[in-house]
Chain length 288, copies 2
Amino acid sequence: MAHVATLVQAGHEVMLTHGNGPQVGNILLKNQLAAPVVPPVPLDWCVAQTQGTIGMLIMAALEAALVPRPVRVATVVTRTLVDRDDPAFADPVKPIGKYFPEADARRFEKLGQRWKAFDRGWRRVVASPEPIEILDAPAAIALMEAGYIVVAAGGGGVPVARNTDGTLSGVEAVIDKDLAAAVMARAVHATALVIATDVPAAVAGYGTPAARPIGRVGVGELRNLQAAGHFASGSMGPKVEAALRFVEDGGRRAVITSLEHIGSALGETAGTPETTDTTGVIGTILEK
Amino acid sequence: MAHVATLVQAGHEVMLTHGNGPQVGNILLKNQLAAPVVPPVPLDWCVAQTQGTIGMLIMAALEAALVPRPVRVATVVTRTLVDRDDPAFADPVKPIGKYFPEADARRFEKLGQRWKAFDRGWRRVVASPEPIEILDAPAAIALMEAGYIVVAAGGGGVPVARNTDGTLSGVEAVIDKDLAAAVMARAVHATALVIATDVPAAVAGYGTPAARPIGRVGVGELRNLQAAGHFASGSMGPKVEAALRFVEDGGRRAVITSLEHIGSALGETAGTPETTDTTGVIGTILEK
């Protein structure tokens, strides 16, 4: 949060979202280990649980990073609408949680879960449908308008689907956090979508001798690199796709960089290094 | 939520809070059963988890009760400030979660928890300090001002204490939900604090031949009944104390009644019965 605090101090209005993979993995494991005694809760509940805990931790850390300057931070429990007819439900492929022996997997399947064999063991697989709408975005916007830094759409949002009678029900799915962030960023009319990750930039030719970090780039060039298979589906892929969707949908700028460089990538120099590696790239900066 | 919907339709501005005893009990049990494999999370995390899940469920249920009328509902993750020097920390007495055999209790004690022997087995005991301030009440107020029905301070709020450097840290405690509701109700300048429970009213002489439900009552009379030991510490006691504090602190009216009678107790007749038992009492209604 020290790096986010830099942006706040520079006057940026900030909304934060976050992933929850390791945390949901732990909660699922607890559910599974305790299943003989306490019924496991559905996946949408697990996401909501992590919005509570991670939101609370982000608020405390950001406040601490800005002490003694007071800051208004709030976390809203956020639901994301998905389509029950999304093809992802017919073929759940996103692995979540830890590896288990086949015998355990078979037992969990009897609870209605889907499990698949991977190289290192069996993992639960769930649907990862497209985020259509961040249903609680208006509450997040109302708080931003009141001067709050808002934590919202954590873990991609709690996945819900609309029933024929107009009500909502939770669904067993996980929504990609980057794609959900792009939808939220557009809903709040964000100037920039910043995706903070472990590396300073998306890399073309990753793992090859020709590897080069991508700096300033346009939509057409990045779509071409994506089509040529430069970004792995489980890691940089969704980040690149989220950045592209945000800018194609009308957003001004999307940035993919490491956490310590979000300030420099947005043009702030105080407190952040000016360059991130020998190539001088301080982030993949996508503009139309 | 059908009963809350009645209030909303009658034009009341509603803020909702809730308990989380059974849910935290289940989460603790999962933590304990999985402890050999996954480290248990602290109690403040468990409270935050239930704010996410219960908030999400309340929002969906209230929206469903009002379909097709659209309603703005939001849930804020809410922290409640307590004092590290609260005497409750020196002598944790509030039992939480399920009963365990002594051998398990001794094992959990090694994780830093306090356990005590009760008639039916061992239970974990935690501190239940006084709620001093609902730290995220301003965010809840901002949302109410924007027209939202707000779910906040669930489970009494996530217990946090102020460090000497001005930062906040979570503490291992549970805050009484009724007492926290009274603090929140004052913070939002509520006209009425309504405590919905399983019985239509607080009862004087409970369990005796002279038992009588308490209807309209003043602060002096209710304090006298409380001092005479009419309200059990684990059940009606905190509700009566919360009602008293709210009115003594300047609130106009506090109501203790069953969920199905919250409308009648607030003077709304549509959709709710006019009386609740043979005595005609439709709730304990406390005014100065």
